[in-house]
C-alpha cells in the first residue's frame, strides 16, 4: 500500500517552482473484471492506471498539468507546463484565487476491506459460471450476464504547504442481468442494474445477496415479457430504493451541485432550477424529506475522510424537514458563493481536475414498514430498478423508466406490469412525498457512472434510501 509514497514525497520536495502554491495529486488504480455472458466466460480484463496532476497558483490563476511520467523530470516538466499556462492567462481569468486557502493536514485513510487478499481469476469464473447455470434453458431467454469488477484505488495528495493526505479504497461491482425476448418485444431484468456497488472486499457479495439471485432474475424477465403494459394515468407511486437512488441523484444531487448553480456547467451538464438565494428557505419537499451528505456510511461508494482538494469531510443536512439547507459545493465553490457547502470536490482520476460532485447523498429513513407503505395506497403502482433516465438541463422536468412494476389496489400488491414509466417536475415532485420507509426498507447503493464536467468525467457516487411513496404521479407504459 502507498508503495510510491516515499518516492513521490522525495520527488515533490525536489520540484523547482516560482509559483505561489503548488500541489501534486497522484492516483493509482487497478481493476480486474470477470464476465460470463450466455454461460460463456469472457476474456478477463485488467487495468493498471497511474499518473499525477500537478497544480499551480500564480497571481491568482490556477492551472494544472497531468502526466503519467512520474520521474523527477516528468513531474518537473508537468509543473512547468502548468506554470506556463497560468502565466499566459493572467488577466483573462474569471476567478482571482490568490486568497483561497489550502489544506495543511497530514492523514491516512484506509477504508475497510482494502487490504483483504482477493482470489484469482479461476475462483471468480467458477463462481460466475455457477451463478449463470441457475438461469433456466429457455429459448425466450436470449441474453444473460453475470459479472464482477474489483477496483483498488490509492491516492496521495501533497502540497507546498506541507499537506500529505493518503487514501486507499477498494470497490466491488457485481452485476446480474437477463433479457427475455419474443418476436415483438424484449424485457430485461437485473439485480440492481449497476447500482449494487460498495467499498470493501469479497464479503460485499454476501451483503448484497448477489449469489443465488440469477434464477429469480430470469423468472422475472419472463414475467415481464408476458405482463401487460403499465396503464396510463395518475397514481400513487411507491419507489423502491433501487429507483429512489436515481430519483435522488438526478433531481436532488445534480440540482444542488454548486458549480452548476454558479454557471460552470451550463455548456455541457447544465444548470439548476435552484438559485443561490434559495438556501435556508426553499421548500424542496414535504416535511418528510430529509437528505444528507454523509461520507461516513461504511461501505458506501463515496465514503472518505477528505475530498480531492484536501477538505475534511463530515455529515451535513442538505435538506431538513423539507427545507433546503446547503449546496453540494467544495472549498472553491464555497469561497466563490459565500455559501456553506460540503467536502465534495472530486476528480475521477489523475488526468481530470476536481469539481463539485455529489459523493454520498442519502435520503434518511422514516417510520413506515414496507407493508405499511403498501397498505396506505388505495390506487397505486410499485416501481423498482431504474432502466431509463432523462431530465432537463436545469434538472427540473424528468421522465424515468423502471424495469419492474406492480400495481397496488386497496392496500395490496397486484399483478406485474411492464414498461413502467413516470414523469414529473422536481420542484413539485418532492412536495408530493407522502410516506417514507423505515430502516428495514433502507438500502445502501451507488453508481460508478455519474458523468459531468469539461473535460468529461465519470465518477463513483454513493446513494442510500428507504422506499418512499409519492402522491398523484403521472405514470404510463410503453408503446407496445
Amino acid at each position: 500500500m502507498f508503495a510510491l509514497s516515499d518516492t513521490l514525497k522525495r520527488r515533490f520536495a525536489g520540484l523547482k517552482s516560482t509559483a505561489d502554491f503548488w500541489s501534486l495529486r497522484h492516483v493509482q488504480e487497478s481493476r480486474e473484471s470477470y464476465w460470463v455472458r450466455r454461460r460463456v466466460a469472457q476474456a478477463p480484463s485488467f487495468v493498471d492506471d497511474a499518473g499525477a496532476m500537478l497544480t499551480v497558483r500564480i497571481a491568482g490563476v490556477e492551472a494544472y498539468a497531468a502526466t503519467s511520467d512520474l520521474s523527477q523530470a516528468g513531474l518537473q516538466a508537468a509543473l512547468e507546463r502548468a506554470e506556463q499556462m497560468a502565466r499566459a492567462l493572467v488577466g483573462h481569468n474569471l476567478l482571482d484565487l490568490a486568497s483561497l486557502s489550502y489544506p495543511t493536514e497530514q492523514n491516512d485513510d484506509v477504508m475497510p476491506g482494502y487490504e483483504q487478499p482477493l482470489a484469482g481469476a479461476a475462483h471468480w469464473f467458477e463462481l460466475l459460471m455457477a451463478e449463470s447455470a441457475l438461469i433456466p434453458q429457455d429459448a425466450r431467454l436470449v441474453d444473460s450476464h453475470v459479472g464482477l469488477t474489483f477496483t483498488c484505488h490509492e491516492q496521495i495528495y501533497l502540497n507546498s504547504a506541507g499537506a500529505c493526505l493518503r487514501r486507499a479504497q477498494r470497490y466491488v461491482f457485481p452485476q446480474v442481468g437477463v433479457t427475455a425476448s419474443d418476436e415483438h418485444d424484449s424485457q430485461s431484468r437485473s439485480f440492481g442494474g449497476t447500482h449494487l456497488a460498495r467499498q470493501g472486499g469479497a464479503e460485499v457479495l454476501q451483503q448484497l445477496g448477489v449469489i443465488g439471485s440469477a434464477e429469480r432474475i430470469a423468472d422475472e424477465a419472463l414475467q415481464l415479457l408476458l405482463a401487460p403494459n403499465t396503464p396510463n394515468g395518475s397514481r400513487d407511486l411507491l419507489l423502491m430504493p433501487d429507483q429512489m437512488i436515481l430519483q435522488i441523484h438526478e433531481s436532488i444531487g445534480h440540482p444542488l451541485e454548486l458549480d452548476r448553480i454558479l454557471g460552470d456547467e451550463r455548456n455541457f451538464a447544465g444548470t439548476s432550477f435552484i438559485r443561490q438565494e434559495d438556501f435556508g428557505q426553499y421548500p424542496y419537499g414535504s416535511p418528510l424529506l430529509n437528505v444528507t451528505f454523509d461520507p461516513g456510511v461504511p461501505g458506501e461508494l463515496a465514503s472518505y475522510r477528505h475530498d480531492d482538494d484536501g477538505t475534511p469531510a463530515q455529515r451535513e443536512y442538505l435538506i431538513r424537514d423539507g427545507i433546503l439547507q446547503r449546496p453540494l459545493g467544495g472549498a472553491l465553490s464555497q469561497w466563490r458563493s459565500g455559501l456553506p457547502g460540503v467536502a465534495n470536490s472530486r476528480a475521477c482520476s489523475w488526468n481530470r481536475p476536481p469539481i463539485d460532485r455529489m459523493a454520498n447523498l442519502n435520503l434518511e429513513p422514516g417510520d413506515k414498514t414496507q407493508a405499511e407503505l403498501i397498505g396506505g395506497i388505495e390506487r397505486g403502482i410499485l416501481m423498482s430498478n431504474n432502466r431509463s433516465w432523462s431530465i432537463d438541463d436545469a434538472r427540473n422536468k424528468f421522465q424515468f423508466g423502471c424495469e419492474w412494476g406492480q400495481l397496488i389496489e386497496n392496500g395490496e400488491l397486484k399483478g406485474v406490469v411492464k414498461n413502467p414509466n413516470y414523469r414529473g417536475i422536481s420542484s413539485r415532485f418532492w412536495r408530493n412525498l407522502r410516506a417514507v420507509g423505515d430502516v428495514s426498507t433502507f438500502e445502501v447503493m451507488g453508481t460508478p457512472y455519474c458523468g459531468k464536467g469539461e473535460p468529461n468525467q465519470v465518477i463513483r457516487v454513493g446513494h442510500a434510501s428507504p422506499a418512499c411513496v409519492f402522491a398523484d404521479i403521472d405514470v404510463f407504459g410503453g408503446a407496445a
Partner: protein, 439 residues
C-alpha cells in the same frame, strides 16, 4: 515523445516476447491535450493532460485475456512494465477455459494516416476567445492538441492514426437564461473564422430576448436541426450491432426483423472516406456499409466474436459494434427554405439527455435545449421554454418524416470521457409533420 516511434518500439519489444503458440494484439491511444473552460466570457479552469494507454491482449490457442496499462512515454520505464503485464497475462491464461467464440483476425494488414503535426497555441486561442467574448456571457470548452491511435498484432497487422486538432464548443447565454450553442473545430485556428461563428451565434441570441412561448404538451410540426437529430440517431446507433440485434437489446430490432419500416427518405451508411475516425478497428480495416437503405434494413455491424456466436460474417466492426462515421443521406430540402417549409411549428436546434421510454418500440424521450424557437408563417416568433418529447423513431423518421435537408452536416465529437473522441457523424436536418411533446 514521438508517439509513432514509441508505439513501434513497444511493438518490436512484444514481438520478441511471445513464445510458442502465443500471439498478441496491442492497441495504443495517446494524446497531448490542453483543456480550457470558460464561464462568463473568461477562463474558468485551465490545464494540460499528457497520457498514453496501451491495451495488450495475449492469446494462447482459444484462451485470451487483456490488460490496459498507463505508460509514461519513456521507453526505458515502459518496457519493464509491459513485460510485467505479459507475465501476468501469461500466468492467468492457463487458469481459463477455452473461449468458443474467439476468432482473432490473424491477417497481416497495414493502414496509416497521419495528418500534419500542426502546433496549436491553446493559450493564444483562449486569449482571443476572451477578447471576442467581451460583453457576452459565453460558457464553453476548448480542447486542443494531437491525438494518436495505433493497433498492431503479432500476426503482422499495423494501423496508425495521428491528427492534431482543436474543438471549441460554446454557448451564449441571454440574461433570461435562454442560450444558443455553437462550435468551431478544425486543424488550423483562424481567428476570423471563429469571429464569424461567434457573430452568427450572437445574432441568434437576439431572438432569445423575446418573451418565451409557452407550449402545451401535444403534437407539433417540427424541424430538427442536424445537431438535434444527432441526439436521436446516436441513441440508436449501437442498435446496428449484431449482438444487440440478436439479444433483444437493439432499438432497431423491429426494423431488422421486418416488423417496422422507416421512411424511404432514410438511408444511412457507415463510411470510411470523409469521416474522421481511424480506418481500422481492433478487428482490422473497417468496411463501408449500407446500414439502412431507403427505410429498409441493410447490413448489421458484425465483429468476429458475433460472427462466431451467431453464424454471421465479420465485417471489420470493432467489438462495440457501433458505427464510427455514420452518414445519413440528405434529401431535397434547401436549408435556406427550412423555416418557410416548416410554416408554423417548432425549430429545434438541439436535443439532449435522450433515453428510451420503450426500447423495442424505439420510443425515445429527451429534452429541448439551446435555440429552440416557435415559428409562424415561416418567421421565428419566440424562443420556447424547455420541453420534453416522447416519440418513436418509427414514427418521426417513418410516416411523419416530410423532408431532409440537402447537405448533411459533419458533426465533430466533443466528448472527452477518458480520452478525446475521434468518431464523427454527418446528418441532414429533418422536417417532421408531427413530433410529440409530453411535458
Amino acid at each position: 515523445m514521438d508517439a509513432h516511434q514509441h508505439f513501434s518500439a513497444l511493438l518490436e519489444y512484444l514481438q520478441a516476447q511471445v513464445v510458442g503458440e502465443e500471439g498478441f494484439t496491442l492497441a495504443y491511444g495517446a494524446e497531448v491535450s490542453s483543456f480550457i473552460r470558460f464561464n462568463q466570457g473568461q477562463v474558468r479552469q485551465v490545464g494540460d493532460v499528457q497520457q498514453v494507454y496501451v491495451t495488450l491482449s495475449l492469446y494462447q490457442g482459444q484462451r485470451h485475456a487483456e490488460s490496459k496499462l498507463a505508460l509514461s512515454g519513456v521507453l526505458d520505464e515502459d518496457l519493464p512494465r509491459l513485460q510485467q503485464i505479459v507475465q501476468r497475462l501469461r500466468g492467468v491464461l492457463p487458469t481459463l477455459s477455452d473461449d468458443p467464440y474467439l476468432r482473432v483476425n490473424r491477417e497481416a494488414w497495414c493502414s496509416e494516416l497521419a495528418g500534419e503535426a500542426v502546433r496549436l497555441d491553446s493559450a493564444a486561442m483562449a486569449q482571443q476567445i476572451v477578447a471576442a467574448a467581451a460583453g457576452l456571457d459565453l460558457v464553453g470548452f476548448l480542447a486542443v492538441g494531437p491525438q494518436y491511435q495505433g493497433f498492431a498484432s503479432s500476426w503482422g497487422a499495423f494501423g496508425w492514426y495521428a491528427a492534431s486538432s482543436f474543438n471549441f464548443e460554446f454557448s451564449l447565454f441571454h440574461g433570461n437564461g435562454q442560450a444558443v450553442k455553437s462550435g468551431y473545430a478544425g486543424e488550423l485556428w483562424d481567428a476570423q473564422a471563429f469571429a464569424r461563428k461567434l457573430e452568427r451565434a450572437r445574432q441568434q441570441l437576439e431572438f432569445l430576448g423575446r418573451p418565451a412561448k409557452l407550449l402545451q404538451p401535444g403534437a407539433y410540426r417540427a424541424y430538427l436541426a442536424p445537431a438535434a437529430l444527432e441526439e436521436l440517431v446516436s441513441l440508436c446507433c449501437w442498435g446496428f450491432g449484431a449482438q444487440a440485434l440478436a439479444s433483444g437489446g437493439s432499438p432497431l430490432q423491429r426494423l431488422f426483423n421486418g416488423k417496422a419500416e422507416l421512411s424511404p427518405l432514410v438511408t444511412m451508411d457507415e463510411r470510411i472516406e470523409g469521416g474522421l475516425a481511424p480506418a481500422f478497428t481492433s478487428e482490422g480495416p473497417r468496411q463501408p456499409l449500407r446500414l439502412i437503405g431507403q427505410g429498409r434494413p441493410g447490413e448489421r455491424l458484425v465483429s468476429s466474436r458475433s460472427a462466431a456466436e451467431y453464424g454471421l460474417i465479420a465485417n471489420g466492426s470493432g467489438s462495440g459494434e457501433y458505427p464510427m462515421s455514420l452518414q445519413m443521406h440528405g434529401g431535397e430540402l434547401d436549408e435556406q427554405h427550412v423555416l418557410q417549409q416548416l410554416g408554423t411549428g417548432l425549430y429545434i436546434g438541439n436535443l439532449w439527455y435522450g433515453n428510451f421510454s420503450d426500447l423495442p418500440a424505439a420510443r425515445l424521450t429527451g429534452m429541448t435545449r439551446f435555440a429552440t424557437f416557435w415559428v409562424e408563417d415561416g418567421q421565428i416568433q419566440a424562443p420556447v421554454n424547455t420541453m420534453r418529447f416522447d416519440d418513436s423513431l418509427f414514427d418521426f423518421l417513418g410516416p411523419q418524416l416530410e423532408a431532409l435537408t440537402r447537405e448533411p452536416e459533419l458533426l465533430l465529437p466533443s466528448g472527452t470521457y477518458g480520452a478525446r473522441q475521434t468518431g464523427s457523424m454527418a446528418l441532414p436536418g429533418a422536417l417532421l409533420s408531427r413530433f410529440t411533446l409530453t411535458l
